[in-house]
Symmetry: C2
Subunit: 731 residues, 2 copies
């Protein structure tokens, strides 16, 4: 066969493939070129860059304020510059506590002094860096020395305290010991303090990420008995970022709160420990045997206490103002220089952070490198692309939050979307974010191939949903908190995404000295195939947002998602009502008293307050009207309008997510302004959708619930107006 | 106030209370006298008798064939005689294996020799009887010496082997190690052998009845690291009783099978061990990490294997023909001497058996004592009451089975009902049995007061159901197997009950050397209040069955229960069909292959055979017709008929349960004749209702399922004829 004919037919089939496709936001004639650009982008991604850069960035511990952290920032800035980016290091001056005294003792019935130190392991020299490793602690624990009886509180979340109440156990004046997991860690001391505890210990139970899950490091990926998870415990659901400068940037000369007035520092001392250190403490508890669901994987009978175990905690920190270095790299857009697409990952770690954050950071860099290279070859994006490497994410999203607070007005005027990553590994594609971007992300997920199976990353993820008993729809999850998208979406109202791969990368290294290059390359993403897949996915998202004729926001999927949330909240209210009715009926019949074991001597539950009927109709009416307007909008084809008309439309689209925010914020936490998505006040990471309404209902604050229903319906009405504007600009 | 007036008013209120009630089976005029008799019965029950007798019966180990077992039988016979019973010891000669050689070694990667011995504990001298204690073993394991790689099979039940197949692991030629629980223990070696394993180890995981559940003995009630559960592993779902004389009595001169031909002896050697002995074995396994639901409470990563752990088991038994002594005590009835009400509990234990069986046995004795006393005072029951203390229950329901096989014709002609108990403790009333007795048991449960709360035992049980999320109906469970009711109901077709109290008596002593008087009186039923409650409940049931004008069988509740079983089987078939359809759809889409972790290298599941539609209409039609006849029957009031007419009706009622049996038995196990209730072929204890139909469906044997549907509908047609007879006799 003629070689020329072969390549011609090949070209034909390729072109057919490309032109047969349409992409949201692109006029038919431009879609092919975009896909061709993306194909070029993909073909230039190199796994070995990710590998080399991970080795470089994770060679030494680099938490905020370290010499190596600064070196990393400067080195990354140099890289971005070399790829053609206009790059700055933007520095903020933030409060960061370093542990000076860490003591934990079991005083009685036997004496035990906690080791608080993870051991080096064979085959991983990084774990043997001794003094250079950051001691294990919880950042933004208050200083203090406390001594009291111990109480085991399971995960230390609200339902655990309900269980304790049933058992007749009060934590007032006690020190609690809680397992990691079940909530964001900062919830545990917050709730413990609210309940009157005077100290809080958090430990990693082997059931959650130790030997129960799998072999422990270095034999396997999971936590050995000495590993300790570090982490921030600041009250982030109130506000993240620098604790002394709420809502504004922590510049050198900023006015600062007194540390004693900072509301996000914990009220009680908190210390994280290993399961080796937890074992003597838990073994020394008596009192009721823990409920079945509380029991972990240690070879003991879990008792709740209080006591007879008596413990002492002493913690002191150096509370220093520390510089945090954000690397900000810009590539100016050709057509819309004042519309920005932003892409970020943090660069600070707790220790070496090969997985968290470096695995995500190196994918970001590789995207930036190739996009810069393409720009040099004339393929400059239409919109300005901004790459960020955030500092001080670990202590509380501080680098990104200060930067967003610093640049809020400019971002609200220019930023089209923020795309975040934070760690990555082998497995399945996962994405959360603004549901106006669901259609676009779905198309990208159809375009990217899974490195292990060769099908699209969307198809593989759907396969997993189906075999797990789920449905076959590709959906974005809603964003709670836990990474740098929070200031963008929840404070500034910028459409945001958070994406990554995982599910075949389980381990117990998170925030320990074992999150190292050897661990990562053995257990998380050998060969960096998923690092490249992440660069490919995020890069295509960035390029589509940057080059789209009309910004690829889609509102029908958004609307049906939001309608689903409303349905959920209504059903939840209804099932709360039924549960209370049933409960009160059983109290009346004395069923609890009769079913209880008299030898356990526990008071039976009391009647609960009845759940009133709420008027959800304002939300139903507003959403219904809005739905009709959206139908109208989505029937139009603005991709084919003249560019000048598109510019006006794009300008309007850019600010649409902000319509969903309210400057007064959520009740008791004005920093959080988004009316659809927020981290739960008592979950921390876990999202609460329609948070004003939902949390009022969950807290049984019925007056507030009704007020929030009205407020949210007004948000939907504002959105209807916005959609009307978009309609008029789309014609 | 005048004293005479006081007692008169008291009498008035008491009488009002009594006469206001009606009892099923009694004409209104007789109900009061019966309740008065029961009140007298109750008032004479003495907890101290139970206490003293438990001390006596559980003083030394007394498994079948021991000197102390024989002494117990003789002593009990003397007691029954002294209470006025015509008492015999009926002896059978049964095969009983005693362990001669028990060896278990881990050969590699490290050497470990299992201790196979539980240790004495402080405060319990019974546990220090050394040589007198029966070595831990599984009765009716075959002799043998095997050596192979080890595989962990979770509970060793069918779904566990499905999971192993998914993991690509075959047990052929291996030795399996299974946890206790999840099924009757005999299922584990049976299934292992069917799958090709050559040996079986069964251990008690601390999650199931060790430290995970609560503090261990002697501090608490649960299993310490050395405790071993003994128990029979004969293939009881095939037939229980003497392995050499299936279906007929093991008299001294009976013709016996050759031991090598006995189908209920296991095919492979089986040995039970403690978790102390299991730990080195399980720790030495590699291969895939066990599925989450398989993981137990040991402080290790549970791996499945096979190997590298290599183990050797050597077992030899003395296979002796041993005498089993059943104590049978009769109190002749005044009106219906040839209608018998029978009440039994076994007396043999594995070791001391304070709980199992003595706690039930002493309640039986106290009932018998008081009923005998009342008879001496002229309150002789109308029907003959027969008390039984069975021997050799533990090795396989042998004493009762041989006795029923011996007396089958007489029992089928005379026995009205058999009421079984087997162990007892603090807590909630539970009852299983023939659903024709549900109405009567409900009334008794309303009459007996719970010792801890003062409400009726029915009310307390309903309270527990309700607070556990259940309904408020008092229902008998269906009987599977596990105690001496099995030959009565499932072989001879005698209406039966099995009752007891429990739920606040948890522990890990079952079949270990720790089931002793100190353990029982500390943890199971301090003060024997529930022993007395059991005597009170069972005694009232016996007295009502014995004195009823018309035998208290009720068919409406029976019918709705059976209709519920049919509905369940039909729904189960439907959901099997849907599951297979969904599964096959996912196989076609390659979803399993795509969702699987390629590094685990496991073959994705294949398509399953489709589930055909079965014709359930013969059952629906028969049950519907039967339901109408039952409506008619239950509208009549035979309690007021003349006694001669009642005698004919009672004679017909006596044999009614037999109508539900079929002499051809269940497929492949003709010994089991009941068409409504049977132990599952692969559950052992767990009941399968409508077993012919249900098990054929579960085994996907569609031809047999359709045959069994027809056969069962014929049973229902026979029942309709029987109900017609009852109707004509009730007029």
């Amino acid at each position: 066969m003629n070689k020329k004919f072969l390549s011609l037919s090949l070209l034909f089939f390729i072109c057919q493939g490309i032109f047969a496709q349409s992409i949201i936001g692109f006029k038919p004639g431009n879609a092919g070129a975009q896909l061709e650009l993306e194909a070029q982008f993909e073909s230039r991604l190199k796994a070995e860059n990710l590998d080399n850069w991970m080795k470089r960035l994770s060679a030494e511990p680099h938490w905020v304020g370290t010499e190596y952290g600064k070196k990393n920032a400067e080195w990354m800035a140099d890289q971005f510059r070399s790829w053609g980016y206009d790059t700055q290091i933007e520095t903020y001056h933030i409060l960061f506590p370093y542990p000076k005294v860490r003591e934990l003792e079991l005083l009685s019935p036997e004496a035990y002094r906690a080791k608080l130190t993870a051991v080096p392991v064979d085959g991983d020299p990084y774990t043997a860096q001794g003094e250079a490793l950051l001691p294990s602690y919880n950042a933004f624990s208050t200083d203090g020395e406390v001594e009291a009886e111990l109480v085991f509180v399971n995960y230390g979340i609200p339902q655990d305290y309900e269980e304790l109440e049933k058992l007749g156990i009060d934590v007032k004046g006690k020190i609690v010991i809680a397992k990691y997991y079940g909530s964001w860690r900062g919830i545990k001391p917050k709730l413990a303090a609210e309940k009157g505890a005077i100290g809080c210990i958090i430990y990693s139970d082997p059931e959650d990420d130790g030997y129960v899950r799998g072999d422990v490091y270095p034999e396997g990926a999971f936590k050995n008995k000495t590993g300790v998870q570090r982490g921030s415990v600041m009250d982030m659901p109130l506000y993240p970022g620098d604790v002394l400068t709420p809502g504004y940037a922590a510049k050198k000369d900023a006015k600062r709160l007194d540390r004693k007035d900072a509301p996000t520092i914990t009220k009680i001392p908190v210390l994280p420990i290993s399961y080796e250190d937890a074992l003597p403490l838990l073994s020394a508890l008596k009192g009721p045997v823990a409920p079945d669901s509380w029991k972990g994987g240690l070879p003991i009978t879990y008792h709740v206490g209080p006591g007879p175990a008596r413990v002492r905690i002493k913690l002191e920190f150096d509370w220093n103002i520390t510089p945090a270095y954000n690397v900000i790299a810009k590539l100016k857009g050709s057509t819309y220089p004042d519309q920005w697409v932003m892409r970020g990952n943090h660069h600070d770690a707790w220790v070496h952070g090969a997985n968290d954050p470096v695995s995500g950071m190196v994918a970001v860099m590789e995207e930036a490198r190739v996009i810069g290279e393409l720009a040099k070859q004339g393929k400059r994006p239409k919109r300005t692309i901004v790459y960020a490497a955030w500092d001080a994410e670990e202590p509380g999203l501080i680098g990104s939050t200060e930067w967003v607070e610093d640049h809020e007005k400019e971002l609200q005027a220019k930023l089209v979307a923020y795309i975040n990553t934070d760690s990555n590994g082998r497995g399945f594609f996962g994405a959360g974010g603004s549901h106006t971007l669901q259609a676009m992300v779905t198309e990208v997920a159809e375009a990217v191939k899974d490195p292990q199976t060769g099908v699209s990353i969307k198809e593989r993820r759907i396969a997993r949903q189906l075999t797990g008993g789920g449905n076959d729809r590709f959906e974005l999850s809603a964003l709670g908190s836990g990474s740098d998208y929070t200031p963008f979406i929840q404070h500034a109202g910028i459409a945001s995404l958070n994406i990554g791969f995982g599910g075949e990368n389980a381990g117990g290294e998170y925030h320990t000295i074992y999150d190292t290059y050897p661990h990562y390359t053995r257990f998380k993403d050998p060969g960096f195939a998923y690092g490249v897949a992440l660069a490919n996915t995020a890069g295509r998202i960035v390029l589509r947002m940057a080059n789209a004729d009309v910004l690829p926001f889609e509102f029908k999927q958004w609307h049906s998602t939001v309608a689903g949330y409303l349905d959920e909240v209504m059903k939840e209210t209804e099932s709360m009502r039924k549960a209370v009715e049933r409960h009160n009926g059983l109290v009346e019949k004395k069923s609890f008293a009769l079913a209880a074991d008299p030898l356990e001597n526990v008071a039976p539950p009391k009647k609960k307050k009845e759940i009133p009927f709420l008027d959800f109709s304002p939300l139903q009416n507003s959403l219904s009207k809005l739905g009709k307007r959206i139908e109208e909008l989505e029937s139009l084809n603005p991709e084919s309008l003249p560019v000048e008309k598109q510019k006006a439309l794009n300008a309007a689209l850019q600010g649409t997510e902000q319509v969903l925010t309210d400057l007064s914020g959520l009740p008791r936490r004005p920093w959080f302004r988004h009316q659809l998505y927020a981290p739960g006040f008592y979950t921390g990471y876990g999202v609460k959708t329609l948070p004003g309404v939902r949390e009022a209902i969950e807290q049984e604050n019925w007056e507030e619930a009704q007020e929030e229903i009205v407020k949210l319906s007004e948000t939907f009405d504002k959105m209807e107006k916005q959609v009307s504007t978009l309609i008029s600009l789309s014609r």
